[in-house]
Symmetry: D2
Subunit: 263 residues, 4 copies
């Protein structure tokens, strides 16, 4: 049967990315507490396409995904990208995996365990300049408004927020570490299960720690800038305002100044 | 050209609903303050299909929508359903229009005006038993947790919530009336624009009116049951909990007891 | 600490459903081929609330979900509903779990294996009238338009569609059986991975089996009505039309006539 | 009342973007055929925040949006950004408006009119380097697979696709022009309403013009590269494959070579 995709194309236009998008697949990722965690990812896989070829071979992406799906991690992404480049005969490869990740948390006073869900994403690229891996985590948080607390005789509006933190790094980094950093940089962290004693605790903690979205991204930026392992980050905080139908939003992106280049 | 849709089908199976789904179209609806409001609806239009026909004629739905789109209201829905029944040669017709609706609100202390968005839906059905029209509104609200307030030394967790109220009625009812009823049945109503004096006001109001989702649906049910004009309603309240990643939810559905059947 | 939820409420209004909504949790479900499958569900859990109580105890839903999450199936739903009723001291309980489910399929000619995702839902209710369990599956399909094929000199527009089939039944039913029934009732079934020989096959198969959404729901209805095990079903077919931006839609709902009451 | 937002912050961290996100507001945009079109936008508005300030003043964004909402266009975006910069006392401003836009199209053979919806986006930024305006349009298309057509005895799988085309330009550009360019670069354009004669036409047209996502982005790139008015573009084509549950995807981004800088 004729290979239409390998036919010549004379428009002289290279394509930056071509491949499969929004395929859902079961994957297994590293879990600090349990070794491994099975979850379901939404996956995009692309390669470049030189101007001389008419099309790419879409089925090969799924073959590669099927082969590697049992061992997905920031470290292994490079091997998958290599396989994509090789088997699609491409110069560059790009992959994104977005998946729910669960961590057992203990309620702050009662100690009752429950699972919290965090949306995670691994993004990897490989081209002639080398490999680029990024890890992104979405962490739900509570924020309590400093202005509302200050100007009101009692109470203070608060709400669920979400932080999206993306990092590039030198050495391996656990999803759990990134989440912890965020949860320590908001008015209060969020739980799936709270007993009455816990609810009292989170209510009072939030009131004791009023923070704007501006404060949240600054707190996180301050901590990450002190971490030699992170070479780049972006952090977005969004408040699903309890007093509005829209969100408050703040965003910082930084290449870390290489402080370690001393001596 | 042959009319495939009108060909005979011998499976002897009537189809309850067939038509077009999720078409977006600009429409004009009634506006209590300004007479008319232009908005954009997502529309579903269905008729039944007797077992003897193979298919319906999809293009006619769009023709009818194009004709009637300048004057959409609960009262006019009957005429559109009649047109659907007639032109699709059907026994029954069903239509759903979902659209954003804007109302100018004044901030509670400063009086600053801004527009609030509410998602509205008109649902109409027509068959041999007659016509059935339903109006549904989604209203964002603030709720403040009574338990959190009671057990905490200071503060109380609060959040954005949403009420979905659906009503069937005897006489015409304004979207604005339904929204008002909901906004008077929560810890505090929501605004697009609040100055500092307003923010103090909504913060303290919410703290003064702690309500569970259970309280919200009961308040609304209590008020609607007292309204002779409403023959049926369902009300759902959902809290986008500030201390959890999931929602708290409560729901009541009632056929109103016909109190008016007196002497 | 005071139990605010157990305080009295004097509005005399029973609440139909109250609980937690849209919580994501890892669950394990039955898998015909492999025994078990781990996936991630979006879960709603509700009970009724008698008029005399102010609120329900939200944390208990999460405790129950945590306990039972390792063994989720239509048969076990009854036990979870019993636990909800008992521990929330309610008269009725309702639960909905929606999750991606994966089945290994072989490409039709090359036999190449890959995983297909289907969105499944278990819905269970328990009240004084007994227990009601429903299984729902969303199955992607290909449909090719009979009218387009008939009137065109060559070609025929086709598109991805989706069937949502819900069933109530007497004896246990596998998700795999429901999916198979749907995949045998469309222009062609859908795969994650197709080699060139497979692509030729699915293209020609679809062209050989032109079907409207009307045909799809009728085919499925015809087959299910012949199955003694099914007591009720609803089937919706939606075409993401390749020639429109909106969908074509058809829907049938039936209580099966009890043919087995013979003898 | 104390202005908490204007309080000093000593963390020495500038914030790149802070403001309001996902607010829905009615706006009026330019319409080539009718002069003006009213629609509903989802809006994000951000400014930078110097490190010395604790927070921004969120209500001012809504005031500005309310003032300028009646006259939204790529040309006017600069004035809104200036107002944001001035009234928020910022160094930079950023705004994104996403809205449905409707164009009346005539069916290709019968000439029957109907409205097609396109999702449009205006993105504007203003900082010390100047102003940057981008227009983005999402256009639904039909694509018919060249490989499927080639290898099959009859038929060819086709599907709805979507092109997202973003452009930066020198002189004013109509949304209508961008849409036209895309609709002339696919297997067949999409309509809301097609009579039988039209359906025959689009079916045969698509079969006569088989195109991969790769072909679609190349065709568009080729045409845009020939247009002196465009200084930058990115184009993504996505096929909602009729034979898969996932999408095929292709993407090209280019700064146009300044061909006009001659003599």
């Amino acid at each position: 049967m004729i290979d239409v995709q390998r036919q010549a194309d004379d428009r002289m236009i290279d394509i930056d990315k071509v491949g499969v998008k929004d395929i859902r697949y079961p994957i297994t990722v590293l879990d600090r507490a349990k070794g491994q965690q099975r979850t379901v990812a939404s996956v995009n896989m692309y390669v470049d396409l030189p101007h001389r070829y008419k099309g790419t071979h879409m089925s090969r992406f799924i073959e590669i995904l099927s082969e590697y799906r049992h061992d997905i991690s920031p470290q292994n992404l490079g091997r998958i990208l290599e396989a994509m480049k090789r088997r699609l005969e491409a110069e560059s490869a790009h992959m994104e995996l977005t998946f729910p990740y669960f961590i057992e948390k203990l309620a702050p006073v009662s100690g009752t365990p429950s699972l919290m869900e965090y949306t995670c994403r691994f993004i990897g690229s490989l081209n002639d300049k080398g490999q680029d891996i990024m890890v992104e985590v979405r962490v739900p948080i509570t924020t309590l408004c400093p202005c509302s607390k200050e100007i009101s005789q009692y109470g203070a509006h608060n709400q669920r927020g979400e932080v999206r933190l993306s990092v590039r790094f030198v050495r391996f980094i656990w999803i759990e570490e990134i989440i912890r950093l965020v949860e320590e940089s908001c008015s209060c962290e969020v739980f799936s299960l709270l007993k009455r004693s816990d609810e009292k605790h989170v209510t009072e903690s939030a009131y004791d720690n009023p923070m704007f979205v501006e404060d949240v991204v600054r707190e996180i930026a301050r901590k990450i800038e002190a971490d030699d392992n992170v070479t780049w980050f972006s952090v977005a905080a969004e408040n699903f305002e309890s007093i509005h139908k829209h969100s408050a939003y703040a965003f910082i992106e930084r290449k870390r100044k290489p402080r370690l280049a001393e001596a």
